[in-house]
Symmetry: C2
Subunit: 240 residues, 2 copies
């Protein structure tokens, strides 16, 4: 029985232009692994309607869950909600419950709920809101797509809200052995080990530091006893 | 006249599992921007043949250049070269010039060019080699696809080899103004500014730190004078 699969769609010119280094992907990958959901694909696209809609259509058809990050703020370049509505072929408008959340928040702050801020209450028809305990403006879920903010603190809070609602599988477990030999020396026996444990994922991640070559061998799977067995064989193959 | 476009394909279970945080994407994004190539899309897929071939087919059809990272080492999970050959419908085998590079390298080291290491000399028919001054095993270019190693030091060296061979456009210039006001306060005038400068990309990237909300407004384009003009208007709209 395999775990549910997920994809992530990052909407972000700022990452593609090299200005910002993505943080949300790494966070989501770790949280999904703990929850037993296999993150299978990530796409990063620019803030353009066609690119967002095409990626969303492909990902939501191929995976159990899709998480998006970015593009749900009040400025002109925040077009994610409209693109999600287009992908699902539904309407989008300011919704009363979302507006009420924002109104109460800006009243408390003594700020005005102006036209720009009101854009954050535009929710595709049929979606449910995702709580934002950090800055109030909600995310939303429609079908198997969970639409979240790009600001890391808000993204992480929204992941915490949504994750318990997703059906997870077996948490992904892993063990790592660091071997100070070149990959070429260990590749043969390692390939045989991988063949003997087809239920596990055995990855080799080379490094080189100060002229020394080595590899981290990571054994991943959902059955801890099998990982122990493979790791015991690996340690015997490559003693310290 | 718009700049050539590029996509990146990261082949990496270790990123999708949350074990590793990608570094190559950020590096490539910055280098391409300097060279006048627009990075439009990044995909991260797992080390599975179908996923790699499908992503490669889509990206190489849609963009002027594709750069891949990862999966060209000697271990069983290194399947990128075979997937690239499959995508192009060409054969793949050990090639004499690649073998000679490896043979000389391992002779110098006093190591054996065993079967696993020889896998790194398997090159799709019709490809040209990409120099690897760090650890010798070459990358390769076939069609518009540039296949590079995942180890950051090697990836960066390969980018440095390939970049001068790519036809670039105007380097992407940018200026940033940090505004200590909530995005909702600046979104209206900012949207009007964006409409008045349709040749520029004006992005708003919110932050919140210690309870203070603000946004970095980034104006990007290839014409420095236009960016100056937009930045002058922006500074006048939101004085310190």
């Amino acid at each position: 029985m395999s775990n549910p699969t997920a994809a992530m769609l990052v909407i972000g010119d700022e990452i593609l232009s090299g200005r910002t280094r993505d943080a949300n992907m790494h966070y989501l990958a770790q949280e999904l692994a703990k929850h037993g959901v296999d993150l299978r694909e990530v796409r990063i696209v620019s803030d353009t309607r066609d690119a967002i809609v095409a990626a969303l259509n492909a990902l939501r058809a191929a995976h159990d869950y899709v998480v998006t990050s970015g593009g749900i703020g009040p400025t002109h370049d925040d077009i994610t909600a409209d693109c999600v509505a287009a992908s699902f072929g539904v309407g989008i408008d300011v919704r009363d419950d979302a507006r009420a959340l924002l109104q109460a928040h800006y009243d408390r702050q003594g700020s005005e709920l102006n036209a720009a801020r009101l854009r954050m209450a535009r929710i595709p028809d049929g979606a449910t809101l995702i709580d934002n305990p950090v800055s109030v403006a909600p995310g939303f879920t429609i079908g198997n797509v969970h639409v979240m903010a790009g600001v890391p603190a808000v993204f992480e809070a929204m992941v915490a809200s949504v994750l318990p609602t997703l059906t997870g599988g077996q948490p992904l477990l892993s063990q790592t052995l660091r071997i100070q030999r070149g990959e070429g020396d260990i590749a043969g026996p390692l390939g045989e080990l991988a063949q003997d444990f087809p239920d596990l994922s055995i990855g080799s991640y080379p490094y080189q530091k100060d002229g020394i070559y080595g590899a981290n061998i990571v054994i991943r799977g959902t059955d801890g006893a099998r990982i122990d067995a493979a790791m015991a064989r690996l340690s015997k193959l490559f003693p310290e």
